[in-house]
């Protein structure tokens, strides 16, 4: 019996978390994530969850408390955005290097200054090197699905890394859709309780977070990178398992129309939805276009990406963040790095868009597709980086 509820992205994250038997939530409110924590507080107050909810006094303390809690073997969830993510940045590195499988919902929002509360990816991109697994969802349904999968991926004994589930601020976080939710029992069966070997335990006293001199530090970072490598296969495995459970299978990349395309748009998040609608319209007109949505951003699915895109002639990589002073935006940087060694690699150009919640319209996207088709035809990239939607 399929149950469909009207949920915004924020509410979907909270609803999924409610079903996941979370032990501790330590969070601090910030627009546009607030609904995640408010909704969850309601569940706590109504006794719908057996979770200790710690209303911490800042995001830095939120992540600190989450790390402490996670180290006891508890299942931990938190959420933030923008300035809050920036404030907890220090501890994010520690969460991943201490192998704490924390799940965090991030309602991606622009970073100050000037202060802006609307959606773009600059917040998560500012922390993309912190060693967390990162997925970007396209809509509320994916937000719900991803949170449930996130716990399973993160807590796997061969992974043990924290994970962010990113949703575009306001665009997804505050947009209501019909979300198909699973039965509580089904989620509980999908997500067994955490089994932890190394944790805070008076029976087996451990020293966690020691001081490492240059003679040991490097080895632990190498270990972390190796753990990241193990994530890819786990994500695929869990994605398939989730598919059997919910009827929606998840893979690291979601390609639409790529197989016979010459030109493609590659992006993260909600823009992929708009791009698919445009691509569908253009394909009916006989244009050979496709859309590649990157769902798993870290670790970047390099091999899969190379395989799927190798026949393309031109790629437009859309970045909803600007890496100031860098040759190209963050996603484009990864795409270029991956495709550099490919024989007959496609021509790539970068489009920076949507900063501070600036809308990207179907017309804009059609323009980008046409640019990509032109590039496919001529083999020339007129401008490697352009800004779409900004007033000159």
């Amino acid at each position: 019996m399929k149950k469909v509820i009207g949920l915004t992205g924020d509410e979907a994250v909270a609803y999924a978390a409610k079903q996941c038997d979370v032990d501790v939530v330590a969070a601090y409110p910030i627009t546009p994530q607030t609904i995640m924590v408010e909704k969850f507080s309601e569940y706590v107050a109504d006794g719908e969850v057996e979770t200790e909810f710690v209303c911490v006094e800042s995001e830095h303390s939120a992540m600190s408390a989450c790390v402490g809690a996670s180290l006891t073997g508890a299942r931990v969830l938190t959420a933030t955005a923008s300035q809050g993510l920036a404030l907890m940045h220090e501890i994010m590195y520690i969460a991943s290097s201490l192998r704490c499988p924390i799940v965090m919902g991030v309602a991606n929002r622009a970073l100050s200054a000037p202060i802006n509360i609307h959606g773009d990816h600059s917040d998560m991109m500012g922390s993309r090197d912190c060693g967390w697994i990162q997925v970007y969802v396209e809509n509320s349904q994916e937000a719900y699905d991803s949170v449930i999968q996130a716990f399973k991926i993160a807590e796997d004994p061969e992974v043990l890394l924290p994970i962010t589930v990113n949703l575009d601020g306001f665009i997804i976080s505050h947009c209501m859709e019909g979300v198909e939710v699973l039965e509580d029992d089904a989620v509980r069966r999908f997500l067994p309780k955490r089994k932890v070997d190394l944790k805070i335990d008076p029976e087996k006293p451990l020293t966690i977070g020691p001081y490492c001199l240059p003679d040991f530090y490097f080895e632990f970072k190498r270990q972390q990178e190796e753990a990241m490598k193990a994530v890819l296969n786990k994500v695929k495995k869990v994605g398939k398992e989730f598919g059997r459970l919910a009827g929606r299978t998840y893979d690291v990349l979601h390609a639409y129309g790529i197989e016979d395309a010459e030109a493609a748009v590659i992006c993260l998040g909600s823009t992929a939805g708009t791009a698919r609608v445009i691509a569908e319209k253009m394909r009916k007109e006989g244009k050979k276009v496709g859309v590649m949505k990157v769902w798993l951003y870290r670790p970047f699915p390099a091999e899969e990406f190379k395989k799927v895109t190798k026949h393309l002639k031109a790629i437009a990589v859309l970045d909803r963040a600007c890496s100031f002073g860098a040759p190209v935006g963050p996603l484009c940087s990864d795409v270029r790095a991956v495709l550099y060694e490919s024989e007959n690699r496609p021509k790539i150009f970068n489009v920076i868009y949507g900063l501070g919640g600036r809308d990207i319209t179907p017309t804009d996207i059609e323009g980008i597709f046409n640019q990509a088709l032109k590039t496919a035809e001529t083999g020339i990239v007129k401008e490697p980086v352009t800004f779409v939607g900004v007033r000159e």
């Binding site: 451990l206 020293t207 003679d215 040991f216 632990f220």
Partner: protein
């Protein structure tokens, strides 16, 4: 642990977690000191003041009276300074 003995990343436990409690006892800090405390057991009343104030700790209780654990004593001199009956003298290392 010499350079040759240090394990690589594949063998090291996860996340730099140290699983052996009190493993610092393998690191003998006794060779730090320039002066060492010597307890005159005749004068010593076993009041345990030196024991509670030792930073290491390098003073241990026994069935009879306290004794210095020279494996770890850094020669700070607090015990000699605080002993109420002046039963402890700091002597230069290597002379006694």
């Amino acid at each position: 642990m010499s350079k040759e003995e240090k394990p690589g990343w594949k063998r090291l436990p996860m996340a730099a977690i140290i699983t052996e409690p009190g493993s610092s006892m393998q690191y003998k800090t006794g060779d730090w000191r320039a002066f060492k405390p010597v307890i005159d057991l005749e004068k010593c009343t076993n009041c345990l003041i030196c024991w509670i104030y030792c930073p290491e700790p390098a003073i241990v209780q026994t069935e009879t009276k306290v004794r210095v654990d020279y494996d770890f004593c850094k020669g700070c001199g607090i015990c000699a300074e605080e002993c109420p009956v002046k039963a402890i003298t700091m002597v230069e290392e290597g002379t006694q």
